[in-house]
Amino acid sequence: MRHIISVLIENESGALARVSGLFAARGYNIESLTVAPTEDATLSRMTLVTYGDEMIIEQIIKQLNKLVDVVKLLDLSDGPHIERELMMVKVRAEKSNREEMKRMADIFRANIIDVTDCSYTIELTGAGDKLDAFLKAVNEDLIMEVVRSGPLGISRGVKGLGL
């Protein structure tokens, strides 16, 4: 099963390596991992997406909790939550397909954030499958470069991850 886990971790050098090292050393799957400081500069918040059966996910959560730098974590998959991922796609946008690209961006509620004579850079936010759908919809030959952030997650309602 796919799980998305949010982790509050001390913002210290080596903290990220402890998490990634844990996944490598114990052979856990890691699909994506994003990390950035929080509003409290001494803390970072990490979102990671992993796969595994129930026993493995339980171990992943326990092993993460066991890391001395980890302050708190929440398996978002346990409850209602929202996921968003940011993608930037650079596409060839020359005379013939400039209009078409613009239309496509509009349909997906994406923004064109950089323009040259021959390219657009399109910014798109949404759940992962929406980003996938966009990439599918665009002619493959026109895609020059894609960068995705990996999902971020937050739980719905009052429940959440805080100190």
């Binding site: 971790i9 080596g14 090292g21 026993m55 339980e58 909790n65």
Partner: protein, 577 residues
Amino acid sequence: MELTGAEIVVQALKDEGVEFVWGYPGGAVLHIYDAIFQQKAVQHILVRHEQAATHAADGYARATGNVGVALVTSGPGATNAVTGIATAYMDSIPMVVITGQVPVPFIGSDAFQEVDITGITRPCVKHNFLVKRVEDIAETMAKAFYIAKTGRPGPVLVDIPKDVTDPSVRVPYAYPKKVSMRSYKPVEKGNVRQVRKAVDLMVKAQRPVIYTGGGVVLGDASDELRKLIKHTNFPVTNTLMGLGSVAASDKHFLGMLGMHGTYEANMAMHEADLIIAIGARFDDRVTGKLAQFCPNAKIVHVDVDPASISKNVRVDVPIVGQVKPVLKDMLKFLQERKTAPDAAALKEWWGRINAWRSVDCLNYANSDKVIKPQYAIETLHKVTRRRNFYLTSDVGQHQMFAAQFYPFEKPRRWINSGGLGTMGFGLPAAMGVQQAFPKASVACVTGEASIQMCIQELATCSQYDLPIKIVLLNNGYMGMVRQWQEFFYDKRYSHSYVDALPDFARLAETYGHVGMTIESPGDLEAAYKEAFSLKDRLVFMNVIIDPEENVYPMIEAGKGHHEMHMSPHLSAERELA
């Protein structure tokens, strides 16, 4: 009080009540060594290889329960210490290892003797720190000790760049009285409702077994465990790491379980309807094939580390907490109950267990011509039983024979590397124990292969007058390897013969010790007696044993508890009868 970084390191050790530091100097720790030179409270023991510094600190920690401390330089000093750190990590031993590092501005430049030791050790420490400011040393040291000894204990490494201990920089010093970390809050007591659930199962059980491990030793809960056993009349088995937490002479004790465990312990586990696991981690040497592990049992598991619970085996009643308070609660709730454990069922259960016992699975064919390793250990027990005795071990057959044939009556008396199985552990660990208990009798049982992995420490023993008794069970083989090759590789003894052995007795003598070579079973007891009567001397006993004795019983890796190989001697005996 204003101190230099180096003085802060040493002062922090004093404030932690550290008596001994095992170490080896080098460029990056010279300032610290200078501070050590100028004081007396903390005694530094100079080893001959950094691996031994960590093993000695580890042995000290296992025997005393205190945090062991080692100090090594950057680069090769630090990498040499890694085996000892990993050894302590696998067995959850509280230890603080201080490593020197190149000066902060040089970090990352491939400077002379630079290694990323926090990176290298990350997977084999409980935690590690790189201290970049002199102002942070005291607090970091306090955290290191706190983390090492609380919760599930383990080694903590503190990496200190040379410029941070610069003698020209002084800062105010105050050692934190209390450590509190928002990210690290170890649990103490177990959840009372869970303990009650466990007690419900215990009073209903027909075929219970208590299976305990290193956690009972580490958590100093041997008394509580013994009370629980007395109250319940339940059978108990120990892992290799748990030996001594129940008196081996207690009739409730079934011996060790697992790969080289007793027939009765493994059969009882296999047939049990309730397993009460206490401070044990369901290691693969213990469980064998998971699918066949305790097929009919409900499992209660007490462990301070939630990650140990349901890691390999799903448990029915998890109890996260320190063994000591949990066992106290368990006993209290049992005593409050009107219904006691089912006496009739237990009687029947004990009947079955005693039938398994009567197989006498450790029985061996002794000889009057060649010394059998089993006999060597039994005789060691005979000679040392009334002494204040500690036994350390290296890794191999001799370790298993010691575990099977030396009946330990108290915890912290049997000191060996179980999780990592580190050859070379025995002698330096004995140094740590002897340093802690100068008056005690400390012996190290070893093999001719293992001893050569840290034999240079005979010099350390000379320098510090450590009267350790080394019992080398010399079979001329890496016996444990040879046994597997005999069983599983058609006796193709690939590189397991230990050729070109030195004359160990003479080697010991050149280090200033007493050496003995013992070849005949008839001479063994007298030799031991003589050795142990030499109170102030290290005696190296090279005991020449049967080269091809095997350790029985044995469960092959990946087999179930009921599929033990028994000694061929037993079946021969049975056929005769």
